[in-house]
Structure formats: structure tokens, C-alpha cells
Amino acid sequence: MFIYYLQLGLRSLKRNPILTTLMIVGIGLGIGASMTTLTVMYLMGSDPIPWKSDKLHYVQLDNWNPDKPYDEDGRPPDQISYRDAMALMEAAKADKQTAMFKTLLMIQPENPEVKPFEAVIRANYADFFAMFEPPFAYGGAWDRQQDAEHARVIVLTHDTNEKLFGGQNSVGKTVRMNGEDYHVVGVLTAWPLRSRYYDLTLGAFSAFNDPDEFFIPFTTGIDLKQYPYGSTRCWKSRGDDWDALLQSECVWIQMWVQLDSPARLAEYTAFLDNYVQEQKKLGRFPRPLNNRLLNVTQWMRDQHVIPRDVEVQTWLAFAFLAVCLVNTIGLLLAKFTRKTGEVGVRRALGASRRDVFTQFLIESSMVGLSGGLLGLVLTSLGLFVVRTLYTRYQAVAALDGAMIAMTIVLAIAAALLAGLYPTWRACRVQPATQLKV
């Protein structure tokens, strides 16, 4: 029976090619627009490290101006000062912890073919690698001992290793930066992060959030006295030199801790509160207690990883899909109403309402499926346009298996939803009224 209904549907769709095309194009456009925007939004906001996103917590402390909050809506500063970073690292109360910042350094490659270049360096503690789990191709992370020794060691990203060593295993080789040699201890494989969620302070998709090219120990990074390449915000005047920055209340360091259980989180929260209270006695932290320990997904929401424009585009695209659906309902209604005579004959010949219902629903889902396929093509086209318009969205404007399946399901659901009322109307046809001559 299914095959027969398929044939009937096909024949009926062929009879009205313009109306059929109109319906398919309508659904296709609606699906294309909504899936393009939804894909971008979904991939931007997706959990980057689902197996431990609830264990990694971003540390925020409020050491800001007593007269003026850091943020109008009461959020504490998004980074911490060097003094607090040092105190928290030395206390080492979390299961794993890393302070970090970003800076720029001159690289002078030994290979004369590669021109000297300025590289983005992340200075972090050894725990960083165990916490965020970047995949290593060769070697591995440095250890806590090397953190303490201010070791001149370095971890290269995949791209940097390609650039400097042609992609070979470079562990044990040296890289010359700012006139000093650093030993390569590890090389990462490609690390396809959709957003660099471990540092959102410059905006997840902003033009200033350049990818990290090297990782060095935090302690070594401090020795270099290179000013951070990122946001440094101060509320008090400070001296202009490096030591003044280290002693100041300026915030420029990001701090993450890993807390393996809710109990550990509670302990760490208490520890932080206690730390701030102690500091208050020393005359620091003039504002009310306002510590935060957001986990990865909370932190991403807090920092608006999904830009407002993308959300607004998604809402508008779904409103557009609604228009396309209403359009399709109208057209299907017109189409099915025309066929009341045919329905009357089928009912008179013994088809039950259920049979007629199935027949028309199959016809609607054929429209939905074709619309979905067209929508899929339009979605890839749309994502291509998004990648062209927003050069920073390369990693989040791409279809994956889940989104392809979602597109087809959405299209069929949309067409069925649109077909439901017209089909129901068609089934209510009384055979007698249609058969009178």
C-alpha cells in the first residue's frame, strides 16, 4: 500500500509542477535559513570538553575599585592580578590548577628559509595540559618541577611545528626566542577547538583572539618581562615598569582550577572566601565578597560566547521558517481541496478515512523530504556565505553528521506539520456530496 501511495503522491505532485515547486522551494528556503543560523549557533555554544566541563572552573575574585564596580551588572573582573594568581598557585588547593597569560615573542628560526616572526605565546603551568587535554603528537607536557625551575622549555602547536621543523618530530630540538634557546618537550597534533574556551577574555570569535602558537611555563613567561598581549585593566594608577605591574591590582591573568567532585568545589569555594577575607585584613579587596567559580559551560554563557548577532539571526531565520510553513499549509490546502472529488470516489469505493489520511500524509512528507534535500543544499551554501562574511567562523560554520540528520528531520517534521491540517480537512470529505451529479 505504501508503494501505491508513493506513486499516487508522485503523480499528484507532477500534475501541478508549479505548485509543487513552490512548496518545495518554500520549505527549502525556510530550512536553509534556519539550519544555517542554527548550525553556527549550536557549534559556537557546544560544550568543548563534555567529559569534564563541570570539573573545570574559572576563578574570579573582586579586587576592584570600592567606588565603581568592574561591571555594571555586578560581575567580578574577568581576570585576576599577579599577586592573587601567585597566592592561589602556591596554596595549590585544587586538584589541578593553572594561571596563564598570553604574550608576543620574536622567533628567530635556525632555518634561514623561514623569516623571523612574532609569535603568540601562552605562558601556563604544567597542569594546563592535563586539564584541557590538548592531543600530543610527539613528547608531552613539561612537569611541575620544571614550572618551579623556570625551565626554558616549550610545547609547539601542530602549525608551528610545520612552519619551523616541517612537521618532523622536533622533541629535543631548540627554538630561539628573544635571544634565548628553549627546548622542545612536546608537539601537539591539530587541536580543532571551535572556540578557544580556556581564554575568552578577548572574545571567543574576535579578530584579536589569535591562536596560540607556543606554550611556555608561566614562571618563565614572567621572567621575560614581556607585557601581556591581551586585556590589562587597572583601576589604580601604577608605575610603568614590569615590577609595578606585578605588584599592582591590575587584572591580566586567567586562572582555571580542576575540582573533581562537588565536595572539592565546596572546599575550594570556602578556601577562596577565606583567602579574600584574609586579604581584606591587609587592606586589599575593598569591595564586598564576590568570588565566582563558574564551570566551562557557565563561563561560556557568562562571556556571551554566542554573539548577539548570531542569536538574532537565528530567531529571525526561524520566524522566516514559520512564514514558509504557513505558506506551505495554504498551498497544500489549496491542492488537497481541489482533490475532494478524487477523495470522494476513493471513499465510496471503500477506502477508510485512515487510508486517505495516510495517502495524503505520504504526499506531504514527499514534499518535506524534497524540501529538506533542497534545504540541505541551501544550508551548505548559507554556511559558505557565513564563512566568507565572517572569516573567524571557519570552525563553526560547517555541517556535521548530526546537523545533516537534524536538517532532514526538521524538514520532514515541518512538512508533516504543514500537511496535517490540509490532510485532516481532506479526510472529512463526505463521499455522498462529491458523488452527486
Binding site: 512564514v323 505558506n327 495554504g330 490546502l333 556565505v385
Partner: protein, 405 residues
């Protein structure tokens, strides 16, 4: 024109009428809000920076060879730049408008004042600074060579003279007497005296609406930022691209131990700064076009169906003496009624959508005139869309009435 028969006919087709009406309503709501957002973005993108953007470009130089002196390099680079053919002016800079990076300072009128009176970007430049930017001095004077001071880590940055943008001057001194007044860029003395006011100069951050027009030029050569120096160059009109190439070559030759990077024309900087706004405007424009097309096609489809369904009635009316014009007007009036009902609901929906956007995204309120403009657009769209099927209806011959009875 009798409206009553049209109403009676519509009442028999309630569902179809509601569907078209709903489509028109949603279309209006999306159209108004999308057009408003597009308009906002275009306005945003067209704000003048106060600079001569057509003939300027900027770049930075990073020296890696050991044993170099930033102060002498700066002076040598400037001398080299200024004697290049096609160069009109050149200045050392820290950042430029539209670049998104810069040095932000709180301006205070008293030392140790607790909260700042205004926020400003600080642009350190030398004597050719205003000239290179193309800033228009509307009061006071330009910097003198003796006023340009080198600042490094040991000497705290404390300019004694500044030139501010008019917007900043008006914020600090609303009475319009800013010239000659003293301000503090840090907590402690000495203060800086305002010696000049430029008509307009944007800050580096395009999304900071409250202080985007606040800019302060200081006469300073910054030599404490490691081994990097940045320059802004203005060329004779029409020679920018060739000068850019020449500069890259000449500077690299002058000192092989360095790299020239981030060479960009101001036009390119503007394009990059507003890439997001541009993308938003384009994407919404595409959605709006597709939306109007779908709605028009929907009206055509539905009207065609009605014409086909009523062929017999049309024939009867024609046989009873209705002219072709009567038939045409019938369908046009019918469309007008449905569209209008949809538009009324759509107007409410448009404001509801706008209100929702305000709540969630702090967007400005939809100005009232967007809705009437949307009404006009959709009335026109409806009339155009119904024209084809309606004309087909006028061609139904009266003889149809007598057939198959």
C-alpha cells in the same frame, strides 16, 4: 464597489484567509525589525572617523637584532618616511581609530578625583600627528617641536599639553571654554593644558558608543613598549598603494634585523572593523528578500487557486453583466482586505518582536515609522502578486456559466 459579497466569499474560505493573513502578519513583523537592524548597521558603518581614510595607511616595525636603540630607530624611520616621494606626512602612533586596540585613559578635572569625568583614547603623536591624521583643528594651535617628549619606563608619561576632540572638550567643559583648561590623565599632577581642539576624531573602539568621539592627542614618542614602533603615513591623493609598497621595501632595506608587519590602509582597517556589521546587514537583507519572495509567491498560489475554484462563478457574473474591470477589482479588493487584516495583526507583532529584542539584546526601540512603511510595502506587494491571477480571472468567458450544468 460592493464589499459585502467579497466579505461573504471570504467568510466561506476562512482558513485560507487566516493563512494568508498570518503570513502577511509575520512578514511585516520580520520585515520591520530586520530593516531596522539593517538601517542601524548602515548608520553605524557610515560614522565618520574624523580621519582622511582614503590616503592613509599604518604599519608597525619590530626589531629583533640585538643592540638597537628604539629612539634613534624611530627618528631614522620618520626621516626616511618623510623624504619618500608621494608621502605628505608621517607620524609615530600607538593605535589608530577603528583598529579596536588602543590606550584608554580616564580624564579627571582634579587630582585624586574618585570617579573620572570622561573616558578617552590617548593617541601619542609628534608634530605631524594632526596633519597626518587629517584632523581639522577648530580652536587653538598644533603641537610645537619642543613639546614632543620621549617617554620611557623610567620617565612617567606626563604630557603637559594635549589636543582633544570637540566631543571630549564639550563633555569635560560643557560651557564651551575648554581651550586653555587643565585636565588630569592620571591621578597625580602635573596636569595637562588643552592647547587645541579638533573637530572630530574617533576612538579606537567602534562599539563603545558612549566615548567613541572622545580622543586626546599627546605630543609623545613612546619608547617603552619593547622594540616595536608604529607609524601612520598620509600620501598625496592617489599614490597610497605605490607608497605602501615602497615603504615596505625601503624600511626593510634600511634595517635587515627587523620585520615590517600589520601594513594596512585605513580603508582596509575600516572594512575589518565593520566586517561583523556588514555580514549582519547582508544576511538580514538576504532573509528579507527571500521572505518577500515567499510571501508574494504564496499570494500568487492562493489567488490562482481561488480563481480556478471560482471559474464558474466568475463566468456567471460576467454573463450577468459584470465587466472585466469589475472582476479585476473584485480580486484586488479581496487581496487588499486580507492584507490589511494581516497587517493590523502584523503591526502589533512587529512591536512585540521589537520589545522582545529590547528585553533580551538591549537593542533600541523600533521607531514608529517602520510599521507604516512596512504597510505600504506589503500592500504594494499584495496588489502586484494578485495582479497575474486576477488578470487571468478577467479572461474567463461568460459562456463558462452555461457549461456542464
Amino acid at each position: 464597489m460592493e464589499i459585502r459579497p467579497i466579505f461573504s466569499a471570504l467568510m466561506r474560505n476562512k482558513v485560507s484567509m487566516i493563512l494568508i493573513g498570518a503570513q502577511v502578519a509575520l512578514t511585516l513583523a520580520i520585515l520591520c525589525n530586520a530593516l531596522f537592524i539593517i538601517g542601524q548597521r548602515l548608520t553605524h558603518m557610515n560614522r565618520p572617523s574624523g580621519m582622511n581614510e582614503a590616503d592613509t595607511f599604518h604599519f608597525s616595525s619590530l626589531v629583533f637584532a640585538p643592540g638597537f636603540n628604539l629612539a634613534t630607530t624611530l627618528q631614522a624611520d620618520l626621516a626616511l618616511l618623510r623624504q619618500l616621494p608621494g608621502v605628505a606626512a608621517a607620524t609615530p602612533i600607538n593605535s589608530v581609530p577603528l583598529s579596536g586596540i588602543g590606550w584608554r585613559a580616564n580624564v579627571k578635572l582634579q587630582p585624586q578625583q574618585k570617579t573620572a569625568t570622561a573616558r578617552t583614547v590617548v593617541y601619542p603623536v609628534d608634530v605631524q600627528g594632526l596633519n597626518t591624521h587629517g584632523a581639522k583643528l577648530i580652536a587653538g594651535r598644533d603641537f610645537k617641536p619642543a613639546e614632543v617628549i620621549e617617554f620611557n619606563a623610567e620617565k612617567h608619561l606626563q604630557p603637559t599639553v594635549v589636543i582633544v576632540s570637540k566631543a571630549l572638550a564639550d563633555t569635560l567643559f560643557p560651557d564651551g571654554d575648554a581651550l586653555g583648561k587643565q585636565i588630569y590623565l592620571k591621578d597625580d599632577p602635573p596636569p595637562a593644558t588643552i592647547i587645541g581642539i579638533v573637530e572630530r576624531m574617533q576612538a579606537s573602539w567602534i562599539n563603545d558608543d558612549t566615548s567613541i568621539e572622545n580622543a586626546t592627542f599627546i605630543p609623545a614618542l613612546l619608547i617603552d613598549s619593547g622594540n616595536q614602533s608604529s607609524y601612520l603615513v598620509r600620501t598625496e591623493p592617489g599614490h597610497r598603494d605605490e607608497v605602501m609598497k615602497a615603504v615596505e621595501q625601503k624600511l626593510a632595506q634600511a634595517n635587515t634585523g627587523r620585520i615590517i608587519q600589520e601594513m594596512r590602509s585605513m580603508e582596509q582597517t575600516r572594512r575589518e572593523a565593520y566586517a561583523g556589521d556588514r555580514a549582519m546587514a547582508i544576511i538580514l537583507a538576504v532573509v528579507v528578500s527571500a521572505l518577500l519572495a515567499i510571501t508574494a509567491l504564496g499570494i500568487i498560489g492562493m489567488a490562482s487557486f481561488w480563481v480556478a475554484q471560482r471559474t464558474k462563478q466568475i463566468g456567471t457574473r460576467r454573463a450577468l453583466g459584470a465587466t472585466r474591470g469589475d472582476i479585476l477589482r473584485y480580486f484586488q479588493t479581496e487581496n487588499f482586505i486580507i492584507t490589511t487584516l494581516g497587517l493590523i495583526v502584523g503591526g502589533i507583532l512587529a512591536y512585540a518582536f521589537s520589545f522582545w529584542l529590547i528585553q533580551h539584546y538591549q537593542t533600541p526601540r523600533l521607531p514608529w515609522h517602520y510599521v507604516p512603511i512596512g504597510f505600504l510595502c506589503l500592500w504594494l506587494l499584495g496588489q502586484l502578486a494578485v495582479l497575474g491571477p486576477a488578470l487571468r480571472a478577467t479572461r474567463v468567458p461568460p459562456v463558462v456559466a452555461t457549461r456542464s450544468l
